[in-house]
Amino acid sequence: MDCLPVTVPVTILGGYLGAGKTTLLNRLLADVQGVRLTVLVNDFGEVNIDASLIANRDGETISLANGCVCCSIGDNLGLTLYDLAERPDGPEHILIEASGVADPARIAGYAGCHPRLCLDGIVVLADAETVQARAGDRYVGDVVRQQLAAADLIVLSRTDLLDASATRSVRDWIEAEMPGARVQEASAMSRLAQLLLAGGGGTMDMPSSSSSSSSSGKHDSLFAAWRLASALPLDGAALRRALAALPPAVLRAKGIVSLAEAPGRRFVLQLVGRRWSLEPEVRSDGSALAGPSEVVAIGLAGQLDMDQLEALFAPTLPAGLPRAVAVLLRQEDRA
């Protein structure tokens, strides 16, 4: 690979105490493949990884055979994160576990503490059984609401303990309290974990990865993907309008695009829940590349409305472009 990632995406995992963050992290560390992930955790003692996966254990750091690392935040998140970003052999993606009472939006501020780092998204876990009661608690009600409000994506945990109507009612409550919230159920934690990291490294080398469905590796049948590809530059204003109007079923999108308004270079698109960014591509050698455009949107199978997405993105394609040139790929991923 001629282009080392110069940007390291940072994901914040928030949620009140007991919402299932540690469970999710333990699975994530064991399952993730293809991305050198470092997870920063609050309570190192709670981390519980199968001993057979551990390559090395050194004080407050566990290194796994799959290249992932788990380490304690320690007493200074800023310092820990900064030093991590300085390492030449550092991670390709960082996930920070926010403490159970932290405002994840505040923690997200740290994702910009080093020039190499950028915020990927804020994912907040909510315990479907207790979130409503907690939101009314006199000591923590405001904290729980603040966490939900900060989320780009809210993931309901423990829905397996509730019947469908109870789950529906919690979802309705969140959607009423937090207009515009993106809510998903964590019925399959390990798959969710993959989704969190679907952005992969900071740059995407589209030409070499265009044959696979996405750079994050395979998605199984839980997820569906919709893809837009164009050999010609897209209309930037129309693309931004489409991104702002995406339906809640889109959990994650990514892409690398050329825009008609800025020829000669590409832009990187990242989306987690309702947060998205479209930034000029940064290459380690400082060069700029032009090239074809590709956008992939990912959501749960059965929820992603392909026709709706196609209609939404149609205006981004160059006006009057023959259908034959604007290659629209439509594809459902299989395991």
Binding site: Y16, L17, G18, N42, D43, F44, G45, S72, G74, D75, N76, L77, G78, L79, L81, Y82, S99, G100, V101, A102, D103, R106, A108, G109, Y110, A111, G112, C113, H114, P115, R116, L117, C118, L119, Y139, V140, D142, V143
Partner: protein, 550 residues
């Protein structure tokens, strides 16, 4: 074999002891008071050396700073003080506050001219534009007037904000730093103001890397003790963030405090702040048992419940912060605190709880009530640090449970107007730090500076408790003022009690340690408004004399 006897004479000795309140001579042997009265009373113990250098001064028990942070000593060691508030430096010299931006630029130019190596960063601390007159932001354009090539980094008094010049922005590559706390102007350029650590990190690393991440520099201990000593303190608390459980840090602390010329006693709380779990807190605390020396004592474990009121992060009961109704931040989750406090209580530790606002205090009181119901302990002396919005009902529950308090009385002066206008409003600003009610209800109450948050100066702190005057001259809640005698007691005997040291220090009494402050005036005889201006002539620690600014 008993050592020689020294008799100190004074115009007046204020003992703060219930039995005998005044004397003129005190006899000291082996660091302990052996007699108190007139010269004849002292002579009854046999041959002595009379030390009358303070014969015209007033001797009182050494003042006790019941809540401070070692960081103060590190800042004096690593950075130049350039804040708007008058502050005594480790040599006892008063550094006058600089409260205009042009004045700040001028001072920085002088400091810059004294630096030889052109790449050496100029690092300052203590700035606070909200206390400037007029209130004006500090920008990189101001600091660029000082130097366009030498990196400049100024730390705000709160330690939550920094100001840098263009050279620092370039050096630390702020063009690529995306933290939202990097304040930008309308054209998207950084203004030089960096809010919160996330935004400050790259600049700190580039200019002042040795100020972060644990220093074992001996100067931090000396400076910490000296600044307090210069204002009459013989004991100062290091309030819980330091890592004495780290062998390298402990060794540095023991070497510094073990030197005969170390000018004050440090009472260090165990670290319940950066240590994550109760098990580790208890283990680290146990590992330090018996590890101190004469001037380094480990006592109590400090935990944080909420943030700071001036930072809008204290946890308030309704109606929350003025106008917005917003609430602050929990440092640990309430459920966690409800198990952490009993765990520490059951381990036999004294819990020292940072509760800045009233909801945090309420939660702590409830957690102690739970702990006491299950496992009653007498004389645990758990206490609240800050307790700025305690009211009578909370304090009655504290009295019933045996919880005491050290109040943040300095806030009345430094932030009184700010709280009235921006955080609490008129009523709650007038009710802040209610020392009189605390004492009336039988709480053992002390007061503190929380340095570096506000300057360590025990005479200023007791002046605040006695007068409750804001920087603008307004008296906040006159009914909560205490007498000069009570204020002195808060800063001596009461503080000693909170630190489990009242059998050794806090009053002048036969059998206690010879720790004294020597004042030029009698604090009980002057207008209480003059308390803060009393000259300190020196201190005596364990019978050893330390001149002012020693």
């Amino acid at each position: 074999m008993a050592g020689p006897i020294t008799v100190f004479s004074a115009r007046k000795i204020i003992t703060m002891d219930a039995a005998i309140e005044e004397a003129t001579h005190v006899a000291v042997r082996d660091g302990i008071v052996i007699e108190l009265g007139d010269l004849d009373d002292c002579a009854a113990w046999g041959p002595y050396t009379l030390d009358d250098r303070f014969g015209s001064g007033v001797l009182m028990p050494g003042l006790i700073e019941s809540h401070a942070h070692l960081l103060d000593g590190l800042l004096w060691a690593k950075a130049e003080y350039v804040g708007p508030v008058d502050r005594h430096d480790p040599s006892g010299k008063l550094r006058s506050g600089i409260n205009t931006v042009p004045g700040l630029v001028q001072r920085l130019k002088e400091l810059e001219a004294g630096l030889k190596d052109p790449s050496q960063p100029l690092v300052g601390w203590g700035v606070d534009p909200s206390l400037n007159d007029p209130i004006a932001p500090i920008t990189r354009h101001d600091l660029d007037q000082v130097s366009s090539t030498r990196p400049i980094f100024l730390l705000h008094a709160s330690c939550h904000i920094a100001y840098v010049n263009s050279a620092t922005l370039t050096l630390a590559n702020y063009a690529a730093v995306k933290a939202p706390g990097v304040t930008r102007d309308s054209s998207g350029e950084p203004t030089g103001e960096l809010l919160e650590l996330a935004a400050m990190m790259a600049a700190i690393k580039a200019t002042a890397a040795d100020m972060i991440g644990g220093s074992t520099d001996a100067a931090q201990f000396y400076n910490f003790a000296k600044v307090a000593q210069a204002r009459g303190a013989t004991t100062i608390v290091d309030g819980g963030g330091s890592t004495y459980f780290d062998p390298a840090f402990l060794k540095a602390a023991l070497v510094a405090t073990g030197a005969p010329d170390f000018p004050a006693r440090i009472v260090a709380h165990h670290n319940g702040i950066t240590v994550p779990t109760a098990e580790e807190m208890i283990r680290f605390a146990a590992s330090l048992e018996g590890k101190g020396n004469d001037k380094l004592i480990f006592q109590g474990i400090k935990i944080l419940l909420d943030g700071s009121n001036q930072g809008f992060t204290g946890r308030l009961r309704p109606p929350g912060y003025l106008a917005s109704g917003a609430n602050g931040l929990w440092n640990r989750g309430p459920e966690e605190l409800k198990t952490l406090v009993p765990a520490l209580h059951n381990a036999g530790l004294q819990v020292v709880a940072h509760c800045n606002a009233d909801q945090a205090a309420e939660l702590f009181i409830e957690a102690v009530a739970t702990a006491q119901a299950k496992n009653p302990r007498f004389d645990h002396r758990h206490f609240i640090v800050h307790g700025q919005l305690l009211d009578e009902s909370l304090m009655r529950r504290m009295a019933a449970l045996g919880i005491h308090v050290t109040l943040f009385s300095n806030h009345l002066y430094y932030w009184g107007e700010f709280h009235r206008a921006h955080t609490f409003g008129a009523f709650r600003a007038g009710a802040m730090n209610p020392a009189s009610t605390a004492l009336r209800l039988g709480l053992v109450a002390a007061a503190h500076s929380d340095t570096p948050v506000s300057p360590v100066d025990p005479l200023l702190t007791l002046w605040c408790a006695a007068n409750r005057v804001t920087a603008a001259g307004r008296v906040l809640g006159p009914r909560e003022r205490v007498s000069a005698h009570d204020a002195l007691r808060m800063m001596t005997f009461n503080a000693a009690y909170l630190l489990h040291r009242d059998h050794e220090i806090g009053s002048i009494r036969v059998g206690k340690r010879a720790d004294f402050a020597v004042l030029a005036e009698d604090p009980l005889a002057i207008d209480p408004m003059g308390l803060r201006d009393i000259e300190v002539q020196g201190t005596i620690v364990g019978g050893r004399v330390f001149g002012a600014g020693a």
